[in-house]
Symmetry: C2
């Protein structure tokens, strides 16, 4: 078959099939050999386009990130000013990943934390650090006689939790940026209240 020996667009096809497999079965199911055979190509063919599996995965991540960027740029255009643009971007960022949880797991990890965010509920397998934070927050409200609606409480709890978890994610999973002084950032309490 003269028209299939040279695939013509194998690089893009591999990325596409890779994304499809991740969406259908998660990252663990992604193997070079499966992607190759999904493209009707031998298991070693990808090596003409990618140095190794990591390079294919990197290309897939770039492709997914481009989709996310398109959404965020859209939010910026739709915003009346920069301030609302920031909030809009944040919302798009969160909702993009909420609509594609497998993408987030693929880009950033594979753990499934369980945490009952609802104030009046709890689960046996809740992530212990979160449970501790939640209990302490409720105690804080009680001690100081603070009355808030359920929603307000949950929002506030979630904000604290997201700040800490997000900061840890950024601090630990960022490449080395030597000039940034984390200790200086953390010495005050601004970041966490």
């Amino acid at each position: 078959m003269s028209d299939t020996y040279h695939h013509g667009n194998l690089r893009e096809a591999l990325i596409e099939e890779g994304i499809r497999i991740i969406n259908e079965s998660g990252e663990d199911a992604l193997s070079l050999r499966k992607v190759a055979s999904a493209c009707n190509v031998s298991h070693a063919a990808p090596y003409a386009h990618f140095k190794d599996k990591d390079e294919l995965i990197e290309a897939i991540k770039e492709s997914v990130t481009e989709q996310l960027m398109a959404e965020m740029e859209d939010a910026v255009k739709a915003a009346a000013n920069s301030e609302t643009a920031i909030v809009g971007m944040g919302k798009r960022y969160v909702s993009f990943f909420r609509g594609n949880p497998d993408y987030f797991k693929f880009l950033f990890g594979r753990q499934n934390i369980t945490a009952h965010l609802r104030i009046d509920e709890k689960g046996d397998d809740d992530y212990p650090p979160f449970v501790l934070l939640k209990e302490t927050y409720l105690k804080y409200l009680k001690e100081n006689g603070i009355k808030k609606s359920r929603k307000k409480k949950e929002v506030e709890l979630l904000k604290i939790w997201a700040s800490a978890h997000g900061l840890a994610a950024i601090a630990c999973m960022s490449g080395v940026i030597p000039s940034f002084d984390w200790d200086e950032m953390l010495e005050g309490d601004d970041l966490l209240r």
Copy 2:
């Protein structure tokens, strides 16, 4: 050797060696066979204690989480009141993972985001969504003629970034908690400003 055929404490030994390997070479280097041979035991011996590799990994995660919990509980005890306890826990949470980045990667993912948090710097391979957020934030400051110290700007930027990223992490990587209404939470702007 009657005293080594039955290891006596293989389960704990496997967990310990697993943690050691992760600390030394990262999660990718963790294989059942390596952990087993590090315990001077055949490659199938772990199956007497763990159903499969995932179950060993789960046990290792539990062990690491216990270490983290000990630190957080320490912070609670050291705090004068619940309010400072919250801030203290957040700090411990972040600093625990900063001191053990491999633990965070192991627990939550394997991605290395690159993002120049310093206002006056940038890198070619910065995570695009972060770059967009940063640029928009700087534009917002300029448009409104807001003057702040470098540090204040960086703190504020980091807070916004951490909120969004942390929320996405929580929203996407949490187990299903049916009664929690994410849409209700996200419909207002409280969470992101």
